[in-house]
Amino acid sequence: MRTKQVSKIFLIIIACIVAYIFLLPLMFMVFTSFKGIAESVTSTTLLPKNWTMENYRELFMNTSTSPVMRWLANTAVVTCAGTALRIVTSVLAAYALARLPVPGKRFILVALIWAMAIPEIVTFFPLFYIFKQVGGLNTFWPLILPSGSGVMCIYLIYNFLLAFPKELEEAGFVEGANVFQVLWHIVVPSVKPVIVTQAFITFLGLYNSYLWPSLVISRNENRTITLGIAALVLGENYTNPGLMMASTVVSVLPVMLIFMFANKYIVRGFTQSGIK
């Protein structure tokens, strides 16, 4: 029993060391953002010797190079609209596929599986060209609309519904409810765990996506926060690490808060994806 206790403590020590390594880049990011430029390029300690808000002041003042508030507002619009769009189209389609006589159902299901296997890079450039032709570049449309095709999301909700008893819904119909009432009062509450998880995963994906937005958005004030920070990283004149880390903190903070809040749902998502 004693050796068991000792090995537990040993494991916790290892876990702490690993945790320190994982947290190091994040701590570096936060602490460097409070260092002045002279200190940050020569610094050998994680914690700042002189705490300063200078970087944050400069970041928020310089609205021509880094319109951070604008970027955050853009991101809010794109992520919320995209997530809502995906969830609505997915729930409707998944319900129909699981419960209603959809013509060509087998064909649709096979198409879904193929679409999941083919990497999205294959569709990026033709789609970019289409948006260019219709004048959709530098608008929110190319960032929002493709979310409507949530293949994975539909597949997961569909699978969940298949395993879920349909007696409750049938009872609802017998009681004289119409299909929308059944959908809203019976189906949505029962698939809620999948929906919440998928909503968070979609949100994170939209918030963090880089390649696709970098193709369709080039105007500074139309960028999302992730794209904006990328422009700063690539910017030649941006040589102050403190300022760089301040902008990164601003970009990471919202998503980290949501992550901490949604952690339980995201973890649950891994059980749902049904990989055995």
């Binding site: 460097t32 006589p101 289409i130 990164t248």
Partner: protein
Amino acid sequence: MKKKTTTAVLFVLPFILFFMMFWLIPFVYGIVMSVSKYSLVKGNQGFVGLENYIKVLFSSSMYNKSFWLGMKNTVIFVILTTPFLVLGSLALALLLDRLPDRVKGIFRTIYFASYAVSVTAVAAVFVWLMKGNGGYLNNLMLNLGIIDKAVPWMEQQPFVWVSLTVATIWWTIGYNMMLFVNALNEIDTQLYEASAIDGANFWTQLKYIIFPGIKNVFWFVLMTTIIASFNVYGQTRLMTQGGPGETTKPMIMMITSTIMDRNDLGVGSAMTILMGIVIVLCSVGQYYLTKEKEELR
């Protein structure tokens, strides 16, 4: 019955429209572009058959050179990252599995948290951690006397590969770990206890209980990791811009520069399709790998 079909059609219709507009049509369009002379500015200039593919695969054009260089760089990246991302994440999951329940959740969240940040943030942080001149790591090591000259982590090979690999592992290992954590949860704990009574050590358990139990997840993680590493773009774009030279310019960066800089949508599409084929083959391989194992059992 007829009313039900109408409802069904109305319900799938929004998705079908979005799927066609933003997946199916671009997908088919991409194939059409790959067999045409196509430019961003001039549009379609006619059908050319397999000429673009021949240009990319066989001829001694600059496209051929960049395709194979991009392929080589991508494969190097896959080989460097995959072992750590698969075996490392398994090790982390095994560590978590053995921790007391009370602290398990905290450590799981810490190890997984880095997955929530964007590639942009990863790049910004690691550039300033690793930068040869003024980077934190060099400052620290110089100060401690471990090195007496700054290491060019971001400027010279093979150090640049090390930086990219470390950044990628830090960013994505948590995802694989979560998949393994779930798989390990499904193993019956009585098996561990019974085997411990029989005197089995950790390695015997790993071989006879753990690995057979998580085999399918293991192949899944391996294949998805290879595919994800094959799709590398952000880290190289933002951390190294493909440099030094073109040594860290992966496939997707070659494709974007073919299309955006050289204005050749046709050849770029052919490259994309070829890359897509490689990735689909990986998925198909994983499918058969897990399927066959199941039948053998």
